[in-house]
Assembly symmetry: C2
Homo-oligomer: 239 residues x 2
């Protein structure tokens, strides 16, 4: 394994789920906000329903049914559609915007900041996320993520798993695909990265989707690295 990854110069990270705990963060944030503002709802069910719209919404862009639309706008549209089911039709525009921006306020998994800080000593580290630029910048400041740069699919106007996203990072950084390793808690993301020549590191996040998660509990292929978390990834990457 050491030989395999000796050429790696940059590590790019799926972010939602791999680096930050979106579900736990959103439930905690909106529960507090609801309590502070006298707004009651089943926030856990809301976030699960909201996330349920995530891939179908991106698919509309991927299939060309709608023009490029960033994640904040896709989230907002889905949120407004869902609010009536949760008894929240009366939220003002400002409140809807605040709720939508919860994705900018996600917290890191407990190992993430320390792991990235170690990895940053030797490697270029950055998100390679479907999240848009402002979202990723604001999230990094909120969660203390020490990125070297932000690689957002918004820069490429393509959503993962389009090859332009993985190869776009390589082109911008003048790196060969085998010099970049994609780290994700999602096997399908790694499969797409590997298919265009990148290395792949799997980190399981078995509670990303809550206690009943059934997917991505194990690596589904012989990924270049399998680590228990980002601290373990740092150890396995030699830093």
């Amino acid at each position: 394994m050491t030989t395999d990854i000796a050429s790696v110069k940059a590590i790019v990270f799926d972010t939602f789920g791999t680096v930050v705990d979106w579900r736990g963060s959103i439930i905690a944030d909106l529960t507090q906000w609801g309590n502070d503002n006298g707004i009651d709802a089943d926030w856990a069910q809301l976030v699960d329903a909201w996330r349920g719209r995530y891939e179908p919404q991106k698919d509309r862009v991927r299939r060309g049914e709608i023009a490029w639309t960033n994640i904040d706008d896709l989230h907002y549209e889905a949120l407004c559609t869902l609010l009536p089911e949760f008894g929240l039709s009366n939220l003002s525009d400002a409140q809807r915007l605040h709720v939508n921006r919860v994705w900018h306020r996600l917290n890191a998994w407990p190992d993430a900041v320390a792991g990235l800080t170690r990895l940053k000593k030797r490697y270029v580290v950055g998100p390679l996320s479907n999240g848009n630029i402002a979202l990723l910048v604001n999230m990094a400041k909120h969660a203390g993520l020490p990125w070297d740069s932000i690689f957002s699919c918004e820069h490429f106007q393509r959503y993962k798993p389009h090859p332009d996203t993985y190869l776009g990072v390589c082109r911008q950084m003048y790196l060969e695909p085998h010099e970049v390793i994609m780290c994700a808690a999602h096997n399908h993301d790694l499969d797409a990265a590997r298919s265009v020549g990148l290395r792949a590191a799997f980190v399981p996040r078995p509670t990303e989707y809550g206690p009943g998660q059934t997917t991505d509990l194990e690596p589904c292929a012989d990924w270049d690295v399998v680590a228990s978390d980002l601290q373990d990834l740092a150890t396995k990457m030699g830093v």
Copy 2:
């Protein structure tokens, strides 16, 4: 002044000259490299001649005479043209590439890292530079610049002072122009930023071009902030 800048949420920095000492860094780097490799040249004259091609080269892109070309490629072309005058025609391709990449290895002015670290506590900080993405990422790692994100003209495929560069940052970050302040050691950059609504902060770098510098020794307009260096800027921005 405090009222004027109270709405500022992000500070973007011209980088060559404002944050890093390109001339001093390049002379020191290439002198050392020349000594290590038995290559003798007047490196100070080379860097001055090289920088002399910088605006004319970008002008070719600005006028549409050539397609979008990033700074590394413009630097490389200019370097190869200059080498014969400096007795360096025999440099190999690998040596030319190493010399060209000296722009990725620039050092910060003495106040820059500490000043940016303070500013980062309250503001989004990033370069807004004509330098390309890889150059800015590698430079940040080399010099320890704690950017929140990299805003490169390569993202916008336009060189400053085109409005798309300044307004591109605002659009990506969902900020109004008055919420962004451009910091530069160059009055013309601030003039362009202000003309599209951004705030402007001047920091003099009176030896950027060496001991005989004659321009940008003083602010040429009533910029929103005039600071002696980035530590002083942090103080004047309230952090």
